[in-house]
């Protein structure tokens, strides 16, 4: 029977990656010196499962690697090895290596063999430092039966005397006899001498014994294998009829099925073992074939998501309710003539409720807890703080808060950057902290919560905070702020989001080269989010990121230009105002600037950009919507503001093509299509109006 083992690979990978997370977080939490035995056990178990699975599913490299890891953990578990910081560091590296190897196996790609080998060597080194007996014992086991293998070929005389309790081990002597007979020609003689009187007869006790004459061509290891499970539950003797020597099975360790084939002395492989090793070889090839198949499958694979079954059940319930509502409304068809308007209204209200709930539930399917992203930080903070020589405790709050999978993936890198920043620039070295009257231990807090339709993520630290004077001095030095200009504190803080602004005294390999915060801000903006900074000099800083829960829906401000409705994402709107013509300044034929509190911003006349007929071309008769995009501000001239509403984003690229200045489209309640404006794109378009893309846009609109 041949079974394609590759079909279990996906589950194996999933559980192995989960196991690695267990190992990683367990290792990080291990208390050096006096570790919790249950914690080590859990780590060991995870390693053990990965080893077992990778062996079974044919990933030998992974299984070999995990073996060393497992041995170390086993010794820690038994208390024969101390849990040192060095050991934990190497174990964490090993977790990284395993992750790489597993990913490579899953994706059918290559892993960095040299790096893995180096970690493997470090594990071996660590193993040698402590206790190496267990591997030595294994080796002895493997060679023992080979050394005992006799050369002569006289028939086997086997004496098999089960202990009375044999039945209670679940072993059946008949099975043993049947297996022996299957090995070669055999004569079996039962010995009934131990049978008691009928009155004392106990059905659960084994009284019988047997003597078996077996074909001498059968290898000793094959005979031993038959008795392998019961060597302690029976007296077994095995002799060659022409030999004096009694080779008691119990005297020599029995070869494992797996070690026997590796035994060096078995030059002429015995029939049974030959078959077995042949099977193994073939199996090995099958496995490799399986790997390739699995690799091919996953390379073309689509991204998938694991959904909590509860969410699906809710969805099914809601669809059930929708069907009920539908049939209720459907009944009106048949009641010819008479229409009960109250009932109809009730039905429609129910339909509305169903739709809303269904929409929310469907959205929820794509939602994952932010712990998927937060989980990597304990490790990161641990590694970084020791690298920086700082003492940092990481607090995680609200890791079960859910958000859209896509947002979750895109927020990962900015979060890493921010946490690194907190450690590098925020938390002070222990000595500085003590001098400032703080505890030597700094705290970095990662928190997530829902607020309205948004998720708010905060990265806070109780470190040095931003020094406004230094910031201002630096900004003046770089010409970002005029020498005489006076800024309020929050404006000074905002300077760190300015491109090219870095406050680190020197470039560190932790926070990078000052490309940081402006990139982070741009990433957040791209996700439709905003980023704010609270900082108190000497007391720490908190970065607050507000993101939409999903990228599929956005909060929009509806605006009207002539007969067209456009949507401006609420996050990009700074303010809306009635324009005053005396504040307008024309710089060139087509470029107008508007003076807004000492700053000149370009005016973008939407009707010009999209070639529509407006209600009015006079600025005072319309409104300026001040938007911000990619660090630039502009006033968008529209006829009027309509309402605000959540809109479902439809991609213009998939349905039509990319259009500059527009990020997507949506369908309004009345069925008309409205374009969603992209503030950054509009501003760029306005600055280079002659670009051919603008011409396309005119046609598109």
């Amino acid at each position: 029977m041949s079974i394609d083992i590759a079909q279990f690979h996906q589950v194996f990978f999933e559980e192995s990656f989960e196991g690695l997370e267990v190992m990683e977080s367990g290792l990080i939490d291990l208390e050096i010196g006096r570790p919790d035995s249950e914690a080590i056990n859990a780590i060991f178990r995870a390693a053990h499962s990965i080893k077992g699975g990778s062996g079974t599913f044919g990933f030998t490299a992974i299984s070999d690697f995990t073996h060393v890891l497992e041995t170390l953990l086993d010794e820690m578990r038994n208390g024969t090895r101390d849990v040192t910081r060095e050991a934990v560091d190497v174990l964490l590296l090993a977790v990284d290596s395993l992750r790489e190897m597993l990913s490579a196996a899953r994706d059918g790609s290559d892993f960095d063999a040299a790096a893995v080998a180096e970690v493997h060597d470090r594990l071996e080194e660590l193993l040698k430092l402590g206790h190496g007996e267990s591997t030595a014992v294994d080796a002895a086991d493997a060679t023992a039966p080979a050394a005992a293998a006799p050369a002569s070929t006289g028939a086997w005389l086997i004496r098999f005397v089960p202990h009375p309790h044999l039945f209670t081990t679940g072993n059946d002597p008949v099975r043993i006899l049947r297996e022996l007979c299957a090995l070669g020609e055999a004569q079996v003689q039962a010995d009934c001498s131990r049978l008691p009187d009928y009155a004392e007869f106990d059905a659960e006790t084994c009284y019988l014994a047997w003597t078996i004459n077996l074909d001498g061509n059968v290898e000793e290891s094959a005979v031993r294998e038959v008795f392998e499970w019961i060597e302690d539950d029976a007296d077994i003797s095995l002799i060659r009829e022409h030999d004096e020597e009694d080779v008691a099975v119990t005297a020599a360790p029995v070869a494992d099925a797996t070690t026997a084939q590796d035994a060096p002395a078995l030059q002429v492989a015995p029939p049974v073992d030959d078959r077995r090793s042949g099977d193994d070889r073939r199996e090995g090839e099958d496995r490799r074939g399986g790997d390739r198949r699995a690799a091919g499958g996953s390379a073309s694979g689509t991204s998938s998501i694991r959904v909590d079954i509860g969410k699906i059940d809710t969805l099914i319930n809601l669809v059930g309710e929708l069907v009920i509502t539908q049939s209720m409304l459907g009944n009106f068809d048949e009641d010819s003539g008479q229409i009960d308007y109250d009932k109809l209204r009730e039905g429609l209200a129910q339909l509305e409720r169903n739709t809303r709930e269904l929409q929310e539930s469907v959205m929820r399917i794509r939602m994952l807890p932010i712990s998927f992203s937060f989980n990597r930080f304990p490790r990161l903070v641990r590694d970084l703080s020791s690298k920086l020589g700082k003492q940092v405790e990481l607090k995680i709050v609200g890791e079960q808060t859910e958000l859209d999978k896509t947002v979750l993936e895109k927020i990962a890198d900015p979060l890493v950057h921010l946490v690194r920043n907190s450690l590098d620039h925020g938390i002070e070295p222990p000595a500085d902290r003590i001098a400032a009257g703080k505890s030597a231990h700094g705290t970095v807090t990662l928190a997530a919560r829902h607020e309205g339709g948004n998720i708010v993520i905060e990265i806070g630290d109780d470190g040095a905070g931003l020094n406004p004077e230094k910031l201002l001095a630096k900004a003046r030095e770089r010409g970002l702020v005029g020498a005489e200009e006076i800024l309020p504190e929050d404006k000074i803080h905002e300077l760190i989001f300015h491109p090219g602004f870095s406050t680190a005294k020197e470039v560190s390999d932790v926070s990078g080269r000052g490309v940081g915060m402006d990139v982070v801000k741009r990433n957040i903006k791209e996700l439709g989010g905003v980023i704010e900074l609270d900082s108190k000099f000497g007391h720490g800083s908190t970065i607050r990121i507000r993101l939409p829960l999903t990228l599929a829906i956005l909060d929009g401000q509806l605006v009207r230009v002539g007969g067209q409705t456009y949507i401006v994402p609420l996050v990009s709107i700074v303010e809306s105002l009635q324009a005053q013509s005396d504040r307008v300044k024309s710089v060139a034929a087509s470029a107008e600037l508007y003076r807004l509190r000492g700053e000149y911003i370009p005016i973008v006349r939407l009707y010009e950009v999209f070639g529509v007929e407006p209600q009015s071309r006079v600025l005072e008769q319309g409104l300026l919507v001040v938007v911000e995009g990619e660090g630039q501000r502009a006033g968008i001239f529209v006829d009027e503001l309509l309402g605000q509403q959540q809109v479902v984003i439809k991609s213009l690229e998939t349905n039509y093509r990319r259009v500059e200045g527009i990020s997507g489209a949506t369908i309004l309640g009345d069925g008309t299509v409205a374009m969603i404006l992209d503030a950054g794109g509009l501003i760029a378009l306005h600055r280079h109006p002659a670009s051919p893309k603008a011409a396309h846009t005119n046609q598109a609109a």
């Binding site: 029977m1 083992i5 559980e15 077992g52 699975g53 294994d138 081990t169 539950d233 797996t258």
Partner: protein, 120 residues
């Protein structure tokens, strides 16, 4: 057909064992740890127990010890899934009442051979 109780905390191993045995016509009851297995074995009759050693809540050795103590499982074949390095686990398992063991890694054919061996 005989009912095999397959106990392993690893879903992929359970799946592999279960798929292999079901394909050969056995009934399979899956359990995720010793505790789970014990309650499933109590509420229905199983003919063979195949259990991993290292599991949370209750390990395979304790499971066998407990099952062996139940009158209906006094003579039932119970097999441990061990690894090569787990020689002491074999002895410990035997002492607890295990019938025998199957060494990981094993392939589906080896699994079937072992099960048919103990079921006769």
């Amino acid at each position: 057909m005989a009912n095999v109780l397959a106990v392993d905390d690893s879903a992929s191993m359970r799946q592999m064992v279960s798929f292999t045995l079901k394909g050969a016509g056995y009934d399979v009851t899956e359990a995720v740890d010793g505790q789970d297995a014990l309650s499933k074995a109590r509420s229905g009759k199983v003919d063979v127990v195949l259990t991993d050693v290292n599991m949370p809540n209750m390990d395979g050795i304790e499971l066998i010890r407990q099952l062996r103590g139940l009158p209906q499982y006094k003579f039932t074949p119970m097999l441990l899934l061990t690894t090569e390095s787990g020689a002491d686990k074999k002895a410990e398992g035997k002492a607890a009442g295990a019938t025998g063991w199957l060494v990981k890694p094993f392939n589906p054919d080896q699994l079937l051979a072992t099960i048919s061996k103990v079921l006769g």
